[in-house]
């Protein structure tokens, strides 16, 4: 039997990590969470405004005590430049969602039109057989539209990870650019041989 210890200090934290673009670094960061059996609720990683520097956005629900320790462990990794953590109040965040619905269903019902407008959705693709809508917002907003589109034959749904901007992030862009200009990053070396297997003689 497990005893559940409720932790009133737990809340959502948004972790921002600037890193080198390095194969394997995602694992190195991910295992810092999995080792402690912390669930990653959302993970976004993509190049920052500087190509060689990547930015991770990671969302977990934990106490500040745990979050701050985890962040120090992340920052300790050789290829990590900087780590920040923020509560939801400290950031502006968005998730993007795509919804695919049968075109005939929605075309028939004018009500859908209004419903989408109310939810700030826009059509990305309209074909005779299906239409893809897109909306951006908080989890509750993208969730709400799922429920609303369900009766109209929702075919497929996908939601992106959370991306967020820190409210108090004066000078981030300037610092990154300065950092890169002082010492430019390296390109990733990928495996160039995977597609040439039959040309290589081995033993």
């Amino acid at each position: 039997m497990t005893t559940h210890i409720p932790n009133p200090e737990k809340q959502e934290y948004n972790i921002t990590v600037y890193t080198e673009n390095q194969i394997g670094l995602l694992t190195r960061i991910a295992i810092i969470f999995s080792r402690r059996k912390i669930n990653i609720e959302s993970l976004n990683t993509s190049p920052s405004e500087i190509d060689s520097i990547h930015r991770f956005n990671i969302v977990i629900t934990e106490s500040e005590n745990v979050v701050s320790k985890v962040c120090r462990q992340i920052e300790k990794q050789v290829e990590v430049l900087k780590v920040y953590y923020n509560t939801n109040e400290d950031v502006i965040w968005q998730e993007m969602a795509l919804y695919k619905v049968p075109t005939d269903e929605i075309a028939e019902k004018a009500i859908v039109e209004r419903l989408l407008r109310e939810n700030g959705a826009r059509a990305v693709v309209i074909r005779h057989d299906y239409t893809v809508f897109e909306t951006t917002g908080h989890r509750e907003e993208t969730d709400a539209l799922i429920h609303k589109l369900q009766p109209y034959g929702l075919i497929e749904f996908v939601r992106s990870a959370r991306v967020m901007i820190i409210k108090d992030s004066e000078g981030f862009n300037r610092k990154l650019r300065e950092f890169e200009s002082q010492e430019p990053g390296h390109e990733v070396v990928e495996n160039e041989y995977l597609n040439s297997a039959d040309k290589v003689f081995t033993m």
């Binding site: 194969i23 394997g24 320790k69 050789v78 010492e183 495996n191 995977l194 081995t202």
Partner: protein
């Protein structure tokens, strides 16, 4: 130093000379001053071994008997010498055999560069023969790792590997090199050691105001207490530390990895911390008013129950790794940085003092511990031998000058408690991971790291059977280590717990051993076994005076317990003397 870089003319450095990836690996090792490699060959690392054939005069390779032995030897070498240990292994099983040693080196901050062969790059992910995903297997147990698929990367990657392994808080690095990259010829333009990586801060910048705050607290303290760990050794700050301790007049106690930074007999050295540490340091942790932790990480074996640990004290923590500060114990003042830099600033700022009454308290606890525990352990009245008296005799014969390499268990705790350490880097043990089987191979490495020292491996009858195959390495390379087996015919430490906490339900702790003397003889290593007090001293003397390796088995009392003991889940002040 004979390096390819120096051999290259200016013109060659521009256009490069043609080398294979394998040769570039060996050139890097030479440039880094590697004097010994511990390794084991196999298919995926054959090109490197083939190149090694021509580098035999420049690089000393020791063929171990198992890759785990190889990496522990690398650790022993690094711990004894302060240099980076270098290990070679092949792909697949060779690489996976390194994992225990990597975990050990990671948790004990030991600088290593391990080079593993890997299948051809085009075969990655195909379940090729002896392919394992060694990068992902070793990610949690390395400070850094990297897979090379192209030879042109080798000089720079190895330079980074050495720099990362030894700088800041040291640790193990693994470089996995696919076979094609080992064969690949490329234009080698010399080797440039790495001194900087843009994303990596090996040492935090020292902020003087925090040292000043620490000094203020120390100056106003009535009952200050210093805890030191391996950070003092890793930072080569023994002298700076001693100066600080002596000026402050503050009693100081050590974690097992910190042993020897100041001599055992130093008047301010009040002993060992932790589960089987000394009585005074444990009890008085909960009585001091300012706790000054230097280069240690408040491991749970040191702190016992955290919510009852030094709650009355203000805690000052000096560490090079910011992630260690506030990890387990909440600090009042945190001093980030290399203690080689922070300690002199601190010493400058503190008042010269003597804490006579406070120190007397430690001495009073020592007196009680001697009465209740130590006297019987070192000078037993029983007929049977104790582990403690063996260590005591070793002390008398070596006068605290030997390097003691212990395994894990009761003998480890006894050796750490009672061995006399005059010098730094003379207690080599698997602290954080508690890896049985560590001692024998680590002692081999230590002997290479400190060839002029007497190296004594102190091992239990259980642990020695985990890596006993390394007797073969000792035989082949004439490694002059002394092997002291303390045989209690039990997995003693586990038996102790079963006796104390499981109502003596001895579940699989009864272990039989081969005739160790005969086993050693099979490896051309002389030895003997003793079980009585009369023969003990002369047997130890024979062992120590023997020129070359020697195995001595001492039959000790079967069911002795190591005390004092802080039972798991108890506070340090609840330490038991019996």
């Amino acid at each position: 130093m004979d390096t390819a870089q120096q051999e290259l003319t200016a013109a060659e450095q521009k256009t490069g000379i043609e080398l294979s990836g394998s040769q570039a690996v060996l050139e890097a090792l030479i440039a880094e001053g590697t004097d010994v490699i511990f390794g084991y060959p196999g298919g995926a690392i054959m090109p490197i071994y083939d190149a090694l054939y021509d580098y035999n005069d420049k690089l000393n390779h020791i063929l171990v008997r198992h890759e785990q032995g190889g990496i522990h030897a690398g650790q022993g070498y690094a711990r004894a010498s302060g240099k980076v240990g270098v290990v070679f292994a092949t792909s697949g099983p060779g690489a996976t055999n390194l994992v225990t040693g990597l975990a050990d080196a990671q948790i004990d901050s030991t600088p290593l560069v391990c080079i593993t062969g890997q299948v051809f790059a085009h075969l990655l992910g195909t379940d090729a023969f002896q392919e394992t995903d060694v990068i992902n297997i070793t990610t949690p147990v390395t400070k850094w790792n990297y897979q090379v698929t192209d030879a042109t990367e080798i000089p720079e990657v190895l330079a980074k590997a050495f720099y990362i392994a030894k700088s800041g808080r040291p640790g193990p690095v693994l470089i996995d090199i696919t076979k094609n990259a080992q064969f690949q010829k490329f234009e080698y333009k010399g080797y440039t050691p790495c001194k900087h990586i843009r994303s990596y801060r090996p040492k935090p910048i020292v902020r003087r105001e925090y040292v000043e705050e620490a000094a203020r607290l120390i100056n106003s303290a009535k009952k200050p207490f210093i805890l030191w760990g391996q950070g003092v050794l890793l930072g080569s700050a023994e002298q700076e530390f001693k100066t600080f301790v002596e000026k402050s007049g503050i009693p100081a106690a050590w974690t097992i990895l910190g042993a020897g930074a100041i001599p055992t007999t130093h008047p301010l050295n009040v002993g060992m911390l932790g589960m089987h540490g000394n009585y005074g340091p444990n009890v008085l942790t909960n009585e001091c008013d300012v706790l000054i932790a230097i280069g240690m990480r408040f491991d749970d074996r040191v702190t016992g129950r955290l919510d009852k640990y030094a709650k009355q004290a203000k805690v000052i923590h000096f560490d090079i790794d910011p992630a260690e500060i506030d990890k387990n114990v909440q600090t009042t003042v945190q001093v980030w940085g290399d203690c080689k830099e922070t300690l002199p600033i601190l010493t400058e700022l503190i008042e010269q003092k003597q804490h006579t009454e406070w120190l007397a308290k430690f001495n009073e606890f020592t007196r009680q511990e001697v009465e209740a525990v130590i006297k019987d352990e070192l000078f037993p009245s029983s007929e049977e031998l104790t582990m403690g008296e063996v260590i005591q005799q070793v002390n008398e014969l070596t006068n605290g000058e030997a390097i003691i390499v212990t395994d894990v268990g009761q003998h480890q705790m006894v050796a750490c408690r009672y061995a006399k350490f005059n010098n730094t880097r003379s207690n080599i043990t698997s602290g954080g991971l508690g890896t049985m089987g560590f001692s024998l191979p680590a002692a081999i490495g230590a002997k290479f790291g400190a060839p002029d020292k007497e190296v004594i491996a102190v091992i239990g009858d259980g642990g020695v059977q985990m890596t006993i195959q390394e007797l073969g390495t000792i035989m082949q390379f004439n490694v002059g280590v002394k092997i002291l087996i303390l045989n209690n015919q039990f997995l003693g430490m586990v038996r102790q717990w079963q006796e104390l906490f499981n109502d003596r339900r001895y579940s699989f702790v009864n272990i039989t051993s081969p005739n160790f003397v005969k086993v050693a003889e099979g490896y051309n290593i002389p030895g003997q076994s003793v079980n009585d007090r009369e023969s003990l001293k002369s047997a130890l003397k024979t062992m120590i005076e023997h020129d070359g390796s020697y195995l001595l088995e001492v039959m000790v009392t079967k069911e002795n317990n190591v005390f004092p003991m802080v039972p798991q889940g108890c506070s340090v002040s609840e330490i038991r003397l019996s």
